[in-house]
């Protein structure tokens, strides 16, 4: 092959790997038995690794290790960091103390949710924002007029979620001294291999759990450190299917699964205001201006919000995934976005988006239509659904302080 074209070919290697590996990929590849991959924001991520049922139970009764590196991460730093984030996000960042994390969301001018995510206050002037979607141009344009820098650090920072009842014991065993002192939504830095790892008591499972962030170069040694420490405490690597069940039990929503983010929505009626997806509690109209404030205040004043996100408990045990919700078995009033039979709650649960007034003032006589495929024939089931509070399960160990050791 002529030299020029071979040089060109090497330079074009990007399209040979359409899904990237994360910094933990060698470990995950070694554990992968099902070859059950999915695409998470351009990364090759495991849907399951060995058994999705048992992976779920690892979350609830052992310690489950889940690679969250593909999560989009921004480093936000500067004297105006707090003001900037107050302008961008819904909650009052002045109330977020250094060393704390909160769950928040942000909107476009029209008050439609662009994404939800977690905001870590690493220092008074230093933050990390974690989310599903990419927002760098939006964040940079939002930074005009603020003394703040916004840096994309998705690739540079590796992330792991360690969730489950024995997770604190694993961390302690791994030598992260004092980790048991972290209360829910606390974070702290710990030394690791001459560098640092940030550990927060956060997660997406409704269980006792932690999230760890470290420079990508330290990823594998961090994994190994946890793996070794967890050997006798049932540590298991898990994929997204198991996590998805746990998050649904915890009543947590997922962008572009339970709602369509404003920049992704193509159809004009698919965008959602915070109040329409259960995030109305975040909106702080008292804190000063933030993106979408005027639109949200106006929609509230006019009562013009058209949707509501609810938790449903459905009779029977057949998951009502993507089922249509009816009022009086007749009028179509919404759609289920996620549903499972919950092993913890022992209930058939779902998240659904309903058109107001259904789910808002009219809450009785709701039904879901489930099509159950039984040996190449659909059986149409009309099942009664009841609106129930979220989360569907509440585990004391999630918030117990100090957490129980194992």
């Amino acid at each position: 092959m002529p030299k020029l074209s071979s040089a060109r070919l090497t330079a074009q290697s990007h399209f040979r790997t359409l899904r990237l590996g994360t910094p933990f990929q060698p470990r995950i590849d070694a554990l992968m038995k099902t070859n059950d991959w999915y695409d998470w924001g351009g990364y090759r991520a495991p849907a399951s690794l060995w058994d999705e049922e048992l992976e779920y139970f690892a979350i609830r009764s052992q310690a489950a290790l889940f690679d969250i590196s593909p999560m989009v991460k921004y480093r936000i730093e500067g004297p105006d960091g707090e003001d900037f984030l107050n302008r961008v996000t819904l909650r009052d960042v002045a109330k977020l103390k250094s060393g704390r994390v909160h769950y928040t969301a942000w909107c476009d001018d029209e008050g439609y949710v662009l994404d939800d995510g977690t905001l870590f206050r690493l220092a008074p002037d230093r933050f990390r924002l974690c989310c599903q979607e990419r927002h760098l141009p939006w964040l940079l344009d939002s930074a005009i007029g603020f003394d703040v820098s916004v840096l994309e650090e998705t690739e540079a920072v590796a992330g792991l979620a360690l969730q489950g009842p024995t997770s604190v014991a694993v961390l302690r065993e791994a030598g992260f001294a004092g980790v048991e002192r972290l209360k829910v939504f606390d974070l702290a830095e710990f030394p690791h291999e001459g560098g640092r790892v940030t550990i927060s008591r956060t997660g997406f499972t409704g269980d006792l759990g932690y999230e760890l962030f470290a420079p990508a170069e330290l990823a594998l040694s961090l994994w190994d450190r946890l793996w070794k420490a967890g050997e006798l405490r049932g540590i298991r690597a898990i994929g997204y299917t198991a996590l998805n069940r746990a998050r649904l039990e915890a009543g947590l929503i997922v962008a572009n699964a339970d709602f369509v983010t404003a920049e992704h929505a193509i159809r004009p009626d698919r965008v959602r205001m915070p109040d329409e997806i259960g995030l109305g509690f975040m909106v702080d109209l008292e804190k000063g201006h933030f993106n979408g404030r005027r639109a949200i205040a106006q929609a509230r004043a006019k009562g013009s919000m058209r949707h509501v996100l609810v938790g449903l408990e459905i009779e029977g045990n057949i998951p009502a995934e993507h089922a249509i919700v009816y009022h009086k078995q007749k009028k179509e009033v919404g759609l289920v976005s996620a549903a499972i039979w919950s092993p913890m709650a022992k209930r058939n649960i779902a998240l659904a988006s309903l058109s107001r007034p259904y789910g808002d003032t009219i809450t009785d006589d709701l039904w879901v239509e489930i099509y159950a495929m039984r040996e190449l024939r659909y059986e149409r089931l009309m099942k009664r659904a009841r609106i129930v509070p979220r989360p569907f399960i509440k585990l004391d160990r999630r918030t117990a302080s100090p957490p129980a050791d194992f």
């Binding site: 302008r87 961008v88 201006h289």
Partner: protein
């Protein structure tokens, strides 16, 4: 601490018109002007000992509603005679448009005169359709039903009044370029050059740029003394226009403070609450009206923190890099332009020998270079108003294109070169003029920006092109004089319909505020 019903930021003519209209409605109004004098780009200033001039030098669109509402004639405004336009030619054979934009034409063939009459009538007819749209507040698409908006479009365009063929041609031509349209009707290069110049004056367009015809319609939608397309050098200069508006404002009880630059618009809980001056002084008011550039208003005075990100993006994307320079010459005596008679010298003299010439002048501006052979519009204001120059001497005022705001080599070194290029052109049309120059002042867009606090030095406070007109002017979210901030309104040239000494944005904004009980 005194407090006002309304504070107007910027004492340009639009700010004064808005203030006077609000004052007449019984509101207590204060105008804050950064400079030592009101009037903005229309104020008259001394540029050499005994020589005075204003940057805006010709009146062609001061709106009759403004005249009427503020009773400007009672306050001393008179237009003087309708001024002719002279398309200069190097061989001493100029072409002259007499009356209101060439009611009669001299200096060309009989067939060209006939063609012009037909074309002129068509242009005025079509500009007349746009006229109501360029006079009222643009529609709110968001809060308007489809029925209403289409009804607006229909009545607004009054297309129904046109015959079928005329309607078809109106729609065909609407977004065309002036050069192609002129070529369809005319043969005389001087005439086509003049149209090309008039259509593109004050914008970043060449005559062959798509939509450039709109600029000509915009001009012809203006009128003086009820005559569409007419122009005048007002008696007493532009200063007299400002003086009349100021007098109307004062008799309506408006307070005016000069040397009072606004630094910040106070916002409390999403509502405008007053203004902070650069001295730190705070003045409170229920309503704040910004008669200055929209970008300065939002980015500098309101600040991005009070605004949504998408809106900030749109404001930052408003194109407003000016292309016009202004030349002021203090001359020992009146110059003589070849072949031009005495009335012609009291009119508007245009150097734009052909449409191609204007286009070639535009080409370098696209790449950050000035025109080596610039085109220009010249007046000799001291001929009509002798107070503007010492006895026997003369003021020459010229609007010159193209002088891109962001000159690649920088205006510091570019300016003397550009002045030389302008003088070389003048010399061709008025031989010997160079020797009469006592003093020359050239204002580049950068100078205009500083002197009048007009970002980009832009004539219209933002390009006046199809995408920045009507409900997109200055940008979605701030059109129709409203802003995202309650109690804050816009009323300058950056708002609909655009720039020029018209008073329309000022008047419409005041009416909107009265309607909204602001």
């Amino acid at each position: 601490m005194t407090s006002f019903d309304a504070i107007v930021i910027g004492g340009g003519h639009n700010g004064l018109v808005a203030a006077a209209t609000l004052g007449k409605s019984g509101r207590k109004v204060l105008v804050l002007e950064a400079a030592g004098e009101v009037g903005g780009a229309a104020r008259t200033e001394e540029f050499a000992p005994g020589f005075r001039v204003s940057s805006a030098h010709l009146l062609n669109r001061l709106h009759p509603e403004v005249m009427k509402t503020l009773e400007l004639e009672r306050h001393g405004l008179s237009f003087g005679p309708i001024a002719p336009s002279v398309a200069l030619s190097r061989d001493g054979n100029p072409l002259t448009l007499h009356g209101a934009y060439g009611e009669t034409l001299t200096g060309t063939s009989a067939s060209e005169q006939a063609a012009w009459q037909e074309f002129r009538a068509q242009l005025l007819r079509y500009a007349g359709i746009l006229k109501p749209l360029l006079a009222r507040r643009p529609p709110d698409l968001g809060n308007m039903s489809l029925m209403e908006s289409s009804a607006f479009a229909m009545t607004g365009l009054s297309l129904r009044r046109l015959g079928k063929e005329d309607m078809r041609d109106f729609l065909r031509m609407l977004l065309m370029n002036v050069s192609d349209v002129a070529d369809e009707h005319l043969a005389d290069d001087r005439l086509k050059g003049l149209l090309a110049f008039d259509a593109t004056l004050g914008s970043h367009l060449g005559p062959r740029s798509p939509t450039s015809l709109l600029g000509l319609y915009y001009r012809l939608a203006g009128e003086i003394s009820g005559q569409p397309g007419a122009q005048a050098l007002p008696a007493g200069g532009m200063g007299a226009v400002i003086a009349a508006i100021l007098s109307a404002a004062k008799s309506a009880g408006v307070g005016v403070r000069t040397d009072a630059p606004a630094m910040k618009i106070l916002i409390e809980r999403g509502r405008a609450a007053g203004v902070v001056l650069d001295s730190g002084e705070e003045i409170r008011a229920k309503t704040v009206i910004s008669a200055i550039n929209p970008r300065s208003t939002f980015i500098d005075l309101v600040g991005t923190r009070e605004l949504d990100t998408g809106f900030v993006r749109r404001i930052k994307n408003i194109r407003m890099k000016g292309n016009v320079a202004k030349l002021h010459l203090a001359l020992d005596r009146p110059p003589e332009f070849s072949g031009v008679d005495a009335t012609g010298h009291r009119g508007r003299l245009v150097i734009a020998p052909s449409s191609d010439h204007v286009e070639r002048a535009f080409n370098p501006a696209k790449y950050g270079e000035f025109s080596p052979e610039p085109v220009m519009e010249i007046t000799l204001p001291s001929l009509a108003d002798t107070s503007l120059a010492p006895d026997g001497a003369c003021v020459l005022s010229a609007v010159v294109q193209y002088a891109p705001y962001a000159l690649k080599e920088g205006w510091e070194t570019g300016k003397p070169k550009f002045l030389k290029a302008i003088m070389a052109q003048l010399e061709l049309y008025a031989p010997g003029i160079g020797k009469l120059v006592r003093h020359a002042e050239l204002l580049t867009p950068a100078d205009i920006e500083t002197r009048y606090r007009m970002p980009g030095g832009h004539w219209h406070h933002g390009e006046l092109q199809a995408d920045q007109m009507m409900m997109s002017r200055p940008a979605f979210g701030a059109s129709g004089y409203d802003t995202p901030i309650d109690g804050l309104y816009l009323c300058g040239a950056g708002s609909h319909p655009g720039g020029g000494i018209s008073g329309v944005p000022g008047l419409n904004a005041a009416r909107r505020i009265i309607e909204m009980r602001g």
